[in-house]
Amino acid sequence: MTEAVVSAGRPGRPARDAWGTWGVWAGLPDALHAEWTKLRTLASTWWLLLGTAALTVGVSSAVAAAYHCSGGPGGVAGCSPAATLADPAKISLTGVELGQVIVALLAVLAVGGEYGSGMIRVTLAATPRRLTMLTAKTLVVTGWALVAGLVGVAGSLLIGRLMLPGRGLTAANGYVVPSLANGADLRAFGGSVLYLVLIAWLALGVATAVRDSGVAIGLVLGVLFLFTIVAAVVPDQHLARHLQQIAPMTSGLFIQDTVNLRVLPLTPWQGLGVLALWAAGALLLGATILRLRDA
């Protein structure tokens, strides 16, 4: 005499009551709760959070420590902004370029891990509406990336304020010491958090599409770094500029630039928009394949 109770609802609240009319979004709160529980109870989630923050801040501080403005042999160039073209905000945010690897890893594992262990079948049995499941995963990963990004970026801001003036990038030399009171800096630091969220979406979409964590992370990192490096070495300036405009990482990181904006191939927000298009495209691809394919 067994009674199988299949209910995705939380105890004490009937499932699909108030949300019933929402169609596809019915059960989203429950799916969200389930995804949050899965993410929260994995030890790796918290290690990766710590890793993102540590790597971001660590790399930022290493780069800040290595920075020094070198003048020419005759002392002509000196340490003026016109000579060094240094961007204090961008220098202190260099760590984001490595922090994003861990953010992408977490997002890939959130989906790929379930395919690896077979857990995905249980998940889809409990949440048969696949888009609801994907939406819930996306929201949970977004929240995680926001927290990881905020911690890492706040640390980088602190690095920029504390270390860079000691490396010659002082207000007396004509540089802007990074501060959130400054509009451009607020955009650079806040935008970097958004950048990390978009990277998480891109990774989530790719992992949903290819289902294997190892291949997915390889693809995501390959795409991120590929365009940038090709753009850096292409001798043809026009081609390089176009590559920078469509490269998800290069254009996305324009959000960190605070000086010499005129030479950028795109404005900072346009650049972040390009990354957003990539992320949306990847999620759309993942969602379509998830809908059409067997788990």
């Binding site: 073209l85 001798p235 081609l239």
Partner: protein, 536 residues
């Protein structure tokens, strides 16, 4: 009565369990997974393809003053080539006379003075140093001294003893050779005696502070030196350059020519008539050089340089295509290789095949070694194929489009192709070791990418300041990229930024390989230890 049945024995003879069988098993596993084979093909295509994109996609246009706009091959520079086939600068002021057969020349340098471009020159603004607003000063590599040269043609063989303004006495020969002699600056209180002797093809350089105590600085052989050579006094001072360090990369900006004047006396060993002339009329600024002879004192003024042109040097060489540009896809190929090599072991954990593997060959260290051997050999082949395709096709495309490739010898090309293979092989072993340690595909791939591909990316994309980029390529496993070093750094030529961005890696190829192999070795040993300690 009981029937005794003998215990069952298989009729098959016992299989051997040597390392050969293990290799065969691992090789079979590798080649029968379609995704891995595709991954390896992708790695070759990425390694070769990205570089071809840059070779095929380059576009150069130029315009001489008042002339029509040109593009492509018409803009490519024609370098003077030295005896070793390397591009060289060979322009200086030469006070010379012929020397037949063996002989020697001795001279004392008593002073060096010079002119630099104006101190308030804006970056990028170029003005001739002969105009009124120059300032006195010596460029650190301004040179005056004595020289024995094959003939008066640019690019001919030579050996010279000289005082370099900021670098003491030097013996230099055939553009690339450079040996230090007495240190310290030249002045009336600290003159420098220089001597060159010729004996057949062999030229020996000496220096002295007092003209009585001589030190031999170096002996060089200039093969095929004719019987009659040109010998004399020279002065040369290279283009003044300024390094502007922008965060996204570093650039040199030429600020105009410099000038040096050397005063010689006690010139002995030759007794003919002197002729003074500019060798290789200094680009755009003719008529700088002069000499004046009065009462045993020779005053020689000149501009230009006698030196190799390193890849990435300002001016003509900037537009030359380098073989590093063909090889830019290496890092992307390594990502693909890293994925396959890491999955080669993590997939066994995921599918629990690892238990069967260890049941079949319980010596786990040997299993790991067999896997490492398989991925290393396959990756070596992939790296060599990708590197060879990139360099051969890249060179062909460059030539077909009429562009100029910065010349490297065939031996160097071969070295770089094999180096790419070794780089790929060590990277794959590293990825396998990381896969065996973390046992999860995604984590292993992420670590591999962070350890190998990201440092390369950060260093050669110009995302890091110069010093940071050098350090990244010294200490991370990406140090192995030194195996792809194709161009030589010349410390005696300044005005070039020897950075990873322009294809100069901070370590020698063997040192880079050592750093990377040390990482791979330590991680492989760690993986073997953990495999033995842990349950499968």
């Amino acid at each position: 009565m009981t029937v005794m049945t003998p215990p069952y024995r298989s009729e098959l003879s016992a299989g051997r369990d040597g390392f050969g069988q293990l290799l065969h098993a691992e090789w079979t596993k590798f080649r029968t997974v379609r995704g891995w084979v595709i991954g390896m093909i992708v790695a070759v295509l990425l390694t070769a393809g990205l570089g071809l994109l840059t070779a095929g996609g380059s576009q150069t246009s130029c315009q001489t003053q008042g002339g029509p706009a040109q593009s492509g091959g018409a803009c490519m520079p024609a370098f003077t080539l030295g005896p070793g086939g390397e591009p060289v600068t060979d322009s200086f002021y030469f006070v010379h006379q012929p020397l037949t057969g063996d002989g020697s020349i001795t001279a004392r340098v008593t002073s060096m003075t010079g002119l630099l471009p104006p101190a308030n020159a804006q970056l990028g603004q170029v003005g001739p140093a002969s105009t009124g607003d120059t300032r006195p000063g010596l460029y650190p590599w301004a040179k005056t001294g004595i020289i024995i040269k094959e003939n008066l043609n640019q690019g001919s063989a030579y050996a010279a003893m000289m005082t370099a303004a900021g670098n003491g006495v030097r013996m230099q020969w055939n553009y690339t050779g450079d040996t230090a002699g007495l240190p310290g600056a030249v002045g009336p209180d600290s003159p420098r005696w220089l001597r060159l002797t010729r004996s057949g093809d062999v030229i020996t350089g000496y220096d002295s502070a007092d003209g009585t105590h001589w030190n031999q600085v170096g002996t060089v052989t200039l093969p095929g030196l004719p019987s009659v050579v040109q010998v004399g006094l020279f002065a040369a001072s290279p283009q003044y350059t300024e390094q502007g360090q922008a965060f996204a990369g570093t650039s040199t900006i030429g600020l105009g020519p410099t000038q040096v004047t050397g005063v010689f006396d006690n010139v002995s060993g030759v007794g003919g008539t002197w002729t003074g002339e500019d060798i290789g009329r200094p680009l755009d600024y003719p008529g700088f050089g002069s000499y004046h002879h009065a009462g045993g004192q020779y005053t020689v003024t000149g501009t230009g340089d006698i030196a190799p042109i390193p890849e990435g040097h300002g001016g003509g060489a900037d537009s030359a295509i380098t073989i590093n540009e063909y090889l830019v896809g290496t890092f992307a190929g390594l990502i693909a290789l890293g994925v396959v090599a890491a999955l080669f072991i993590t997939a066994e954990y995921r599918r629990n095949l690892i238990r069967v593997t260890f049941a079949a060959s319980p010596r786990r260290g040997r299993v790991l070694l067999a896997k490492a051997a398989v991925v290393a050999v396959v990756s070596f082949v992939v790296g060599v194929a990708g590197g060879a395709l990139a360099i051969l096709l890249g060179g062909a495309i460059t030539k077909a489009r009429g562009y100029y490739e910065f010349p490297v010898s065939g031996v160097t090309e071969l070295k770089v192709i094999i180096g790419t293979g070794v780089f790929a092989a060590v990277a794959a072993v590293l990825a396998l070791a990381i896969g065996a340690i973390v046992r999860r595909g995604a984590a292993a791939v992420a670590i591999v990418v962070v350890a190998i591909a990201v440092p390369i990316f950060l260093a050669i994309s110009g995302a890091l300041p110069l010093h940071a980029a050098d350090w990244v390529l010294r200490v991370t496993p990406a140090a192995g990229i030194a195996l792809q070093q194709a161009y030589i750094q010349y410390p005696q030529v300044t005005g070039v930024i020897y950075s990873p961005l322009s294809g100069y890696y901070p370590l020698a190829w063997w040192a880079g390989l050592l750093v990377m192999a040390a990482w791979a070795g330590v991680l492989l040993a760690g993986a073997a230890y953990l495999l033995r300690r842990r349950d499968a």
